[in-house]
Symmetry: C2
Subunit: 637 residues, 2 copies
């Protein structure tokens, strides 16, 4: 049977059948896979049935339509429920559900990912689906200006994650009436009761205090759910809606209802059979709920929108990149701001976000030039990265910045960004001990290691304004997670305007046939390498100097050539000794498999305190004097 709304709106009697089907299919799929979380979906099956049949505006034949509502399963472990919904919508077959779930090489993974065209973001690390949804809702309201709604199903366990409250805070600040959060309050987590159990009053007070319109329902009363969703979908308000649904885990199968023993366990076949019988047997309904309402946005056809994540590269204004004079002292963070302004003028899909430090990262320059495309995230780095993720889902190219140190706050969100396959440009300022008196809490010292370890990431660390501008431009079309590390202090411009800086390349700033040692730096240590080369030259030691502005991928060719020619390398970085530039150089040398040069790796070891930038670099042993000394020692033995 196939039903389509709104030609004839589907009745709640049908929704009830769909709910039973979702439960049965959640059981069938997980039992067939031998793993999965059926009971976590059974509690929310009524919510999903009413949503699918009567409220979710979605063209299942065109998942990339820009008019579609968005549906995010924040409690990603309830994937059997989501996939059963896809079957009920006719998007996947029963065969795929039964034979593909959690199997190798299949797209119905244990937790949802955008390997499926109806999935916007990967979930499974709890407390991330809602923050991601905030990003999509921001795009809908402020950039796309389309009437789609964002529906997010959260579990009650994940309400303990602070990121949920960052999300609601921002959703109310930005008046995201297009965002509907459904909370499946089944009172049970993985290992027992949640801290609030069925205390819906407390959840309601919290969500209201964070600015949401709260609707509390019995999550198994289809009428109540329907009314709440109708209210939530009313776009006239200025508040996000939170539907708190009191539910029963394992609902529909009396043997497991409200039981603590059945989290994350498929039913054995005999139990599954009893459960399906109790639920009235298998069903194979296909239902199509409301279709998207065509919007009247200029220049966009409602039925054939752009692909979900286009990167529009056509310029709207002539590019006016910043230019700097050689020798002029400019902080790379300032050059980043300048470059971003120009990029924004070139490409209307560039957006920027910052964690309340835009006057330090220089993102404020973009905010001033392109205020409609700047989103202040205040001091909420997790939400900043999640919002960037949601904006990327809608085809925007986000640049998100804060101090490099504080990007560690969002590492789980960045990691999940790689699973989602989104293209995010992250920028960390105030790298290393160079920042001076503020002390170690403000120093990015682990950021290169953290970013290099991500699948498919790009890590860039320019030393001057010209290269910063070029690399910022390069980032705007890089796939996956790209990271730009900027420096606090002012350093001289080394490269003339127009010089090219390919990702994966390097620059050799000093070289001769008589080079006895190679000095490898990036960012602030590149300037120290140049100073060291001058010192060494005065002593008759010729030193090659290589600017490894591309830390990942690294320029293995240049490093191998330097190693072969000079036989000695000093690599200096304003970062911990593990996982950063030195590791990249060493990985490259070992992979090259040729004779190893003598190598000294200067990095930040021990815990810094306060002091001037000069004092800090000297203390860490990464200034020109220490680099020269290391090189001298290598050359003279």
């Amino acid at each position: 049977m196939t039903l389509t709304a709104p030609t004839a709106t589907i009745g709640l009697d049908i929704a009830a059948e769909v709910a039973a089907q979702l439960r049965v299919d959640s059981i069938r799929s997980s039992t067939s896979a031998g793993s999965g979380h059926p009971t976590s979906g059974m509690s929310a099956a009524d919510l999903f049935a009413v949503l699918l049949t009567r409220h979710l505006r979605y063209d299942w034949d065109d998942p990339r339509s820009p008019e579609n509502d968005h549906l995010i399963l924040s409690k990603g472990h309830a994937s059997p429920l989501l996939y059963s919904l896809f079957k009920a919508a006719g998007a996947i077959s029963d065969d795929e559900l039964m034979q593909g779930y959690r199997r190798f090489g299949q797209r119905l993974q244990g937790h949802p990912t955008p390997a499926l065209p109806w999935v916007d973001v990967a979930t499974g690390s709890l407390g991330q689906g809602l923050p991601d949804g905030v990003g999509i809702a921001l795009a809908g309201k402020y950039l796309d200006k389309r009437p789609y709604r964002v529906w997010v199903l959260c579990g009650d366990s994940e309400m303990a994650e602070g990121s949920i409250w960052e999300a609601l805070d921002k959703a109310s600040y930005y008046q995201l009436a297009n965002l509907v959060t459904m909370v499946d309050v089944n009172r049970l987590g993985q290992r027992g009761a949640t801290d609030l159990g069925w205390d819906l009053d407390t959840y309601a007070r919290r969500a209201e205090a964070f600015g949401a319109r709260v609707l509390v329902v019995d999550g198994h009363d289809l009428n109540a759910i329907d009314n709440a969703m109708a209210t939530a979908a009313d776009p006239s308000g200025d508040r996000p809606t939170v539907i708190l649904a009191r539910t029963i885990k394992g609902r529909g199968f009396s043997e497991v209802e409200d039981s603590n023993d059945w989290h994350g366990k498929p039913f054995p076949p005999d139990m599954a059979e009893r459960a399906i019988r109790e639920l009235g047997g298998e069903r194979h309904l296909t239902v199509r709920g409301p279709r998207p309402e065509p919007s009247s946005v200029d220049g966009s056809s409602p039925s054939s929108g752009p692909a979900a994540r286009p990167v529009t590269t056509q310029p709207t204004e002539p590019a006016t990149p910043a230019r700097y004079d050689l020798g002029q002292k400019v902080p790379t963070r300032k050059a980043y701001g300048d470059a971003l302004v120009a990029l924004g003028a070139q490409n209307p899909r560039i957006v920027a976000l910052d964690g309340e430090v835009s006057n330090s990262t220089y993102a404020f320059e973009f905010a001033r030039a392109h205020p409609g495309r700047y989103f202040e995230m205040f001091i909420a780095e997790q939400q900043m990265v999640a919002a960037a993720t949601g904006l990327a889902v809608r085809g925007y190219r986000p640049f998100a910045s804060t101090f490099a140190a504080f990007l560690t706050r969002a590492y789980d969100f960045i990691r999940m960004g790689t699973v989602s396959g989104v293209d995010l440009c992250l920028v960390g300022s105030h790298a290393g001990v160079e920042i001076g008196p503020d002390g170690p809490s403000q120093m990015g010292l682990e950021d290169l290691a953290m970013m290099r370890a991500l699948d498919g990431s790009t890590v860039l660390y320019p030393s001057d304004a010209t290269s910063t501008v070029a690399l910022t431009q390069a980032m705007a079309v890089l796939p996956g997670i790209s990271y730009l590390r900027t420096t606090r202090g002012k350093y001289p411009v080394l490269y003339p305007d127009g010089e090219s800086f390919p990702v994966g390349g390097s620059k050799t700033l000093r070289s001769s046939d008589q080079d006895e040692v190679t000095l490898v730096g990036a960012g602030v240590t590149l300037h120290a390498c140049l100073a060291a080369a001058d010192t060494l030259a005065g002593e008759g030691i010729r030193a090659r100097v290589v600017d490894c502005y591309s830390v990942k991928p690294i320029d293995s060719g240049a490093i191998a050539a330097a190693a072969a020619t000079t036989g000695r390398i000093v690599v200096a970085e304003d970062h911990r000794a593990e996982g950063g530039l030195g590791s990249a150089v060493k990985d490259s040398l070992v992979a090259g498999g040729r004779a190893l040069p003598s190598l000294v790796h200067l990095a930040v070891r021990g815990m810094p305190g306060s002091g001037s930038s000069k004092e800090q670099l000297a203390w860490a042993g990464i200034d020109g004097d220490h680099i020269a000394s290391a090189a001298r020692h290598l050359v003279h033995g």
Copy 2:
């Protein structure tokens, strides 16, 4: 003038003088240093003056006294205020304040750290001081059972961090009436207004909804502050208290009051002079407020408690470590749980925390055996690490566990743990693609890189139950951050009971004089290396097998010997290619500076999906077949 309470309780007239002194000294110290945040302290000076003179029970001559109240400056950038309070308490001299602040080699750093004996935890990454305070309050109420209070000063900007709400959620769940949060609502952040400005009603609703008793005051009305603190200090309730103080940034100097332009800037000398004049000039009061009330805890002398962070190693019960039979299949996560139970029996200062996955990490075994020392943190990994930090401040040895993947959520807290110098044992289960069908969101693939990059960290990755028990025991006395990585599946016990596993060591499981290649593994890949060695032996290739259970520090001697003897190394790891075991091996080889062996590094490249453990390991190219193939290729060339 020196005043001491409670012999004669210090009056609010004196508190007013102290407040003026704190403002003047915040200005003097930051102007003298040429950097710092005077205005961020001036808003909270009245709060600190009343607290110091009339409510903070503290023996300034014995900062390690276990009876002392605790004071945490969560808004760490207001350090001039805190250091001015230390001067007012007579703990530091005016000379140190004027000549030491933010200077190289000095302890009055830009943001507070425990380099100062009156500072419990490093702050400066916002939103962490309160979560840390929850850990100290947990210790006070449930473990120390002493009447000390924990006073935390938060800025209003940091209320945007989700971690603040994780902290209040846990503070109310654990009924921490001994925790008082003061929020300095000066409405201005670094670059402009906060998202809630002076909307104290909304802050109040939020804090109340999260279970706090909320007191709203004019933060410059000493009487109101005094009354609120007296109420907050009343231990009869069961709720944490939040004092919301409406304040003015830069209060006391009319030129900068409520100005957006003076965040994080010291006043130039002429302005400082005008400010000090407006504030009535310099003062050099020394005031001692209430002393701690001796508690009647058994066996503890009120005046000479243990050092702040003792590691008690004396056993209270005979050790009964778990033992396993060779070849028995045991998940290392289970062995961790067993080991922790035994450790808990040996040492009463061992405590455990988990993020609502204790039945997966096996922390539940400790919870069952030692329920009084187990703290369920629900799904709030940031708060889990912060609570562990606070417990460590009070001399307990916390073991905090969750999935390895989800420790990325707490990276900023772990990083700050290194600045605080606390000893934390972190345990990540479900490492790598080995977990099978759950998919990439649940796979720890960046954890080794993240943990290795931390200053002074130790990273351990055992392959069997016996070594897991030994390394868990070793962790309990390691300084700094130590990390144990455990595996989901069952693998055979390789080592007999009683075998020793020194940190920094390795085990060579197969070796002969004819070894042509060395296979290096850890955790699950060690078993794959053994399988590969068997395959290779059948082909007449002798392979050495090294178990690098200690990833940091790594056994450089064993690796150098293997490289020298066999000339060929295959290293395989269930982790990304950057920053993990392979990096550690390569770093070691390069540091050795000898002839480089031929090396193949097998690691997880690309994005996995679902599948069985066997399928995943094969897909990633890190199973026995791939290791054997890589070795064969190296040998036959």
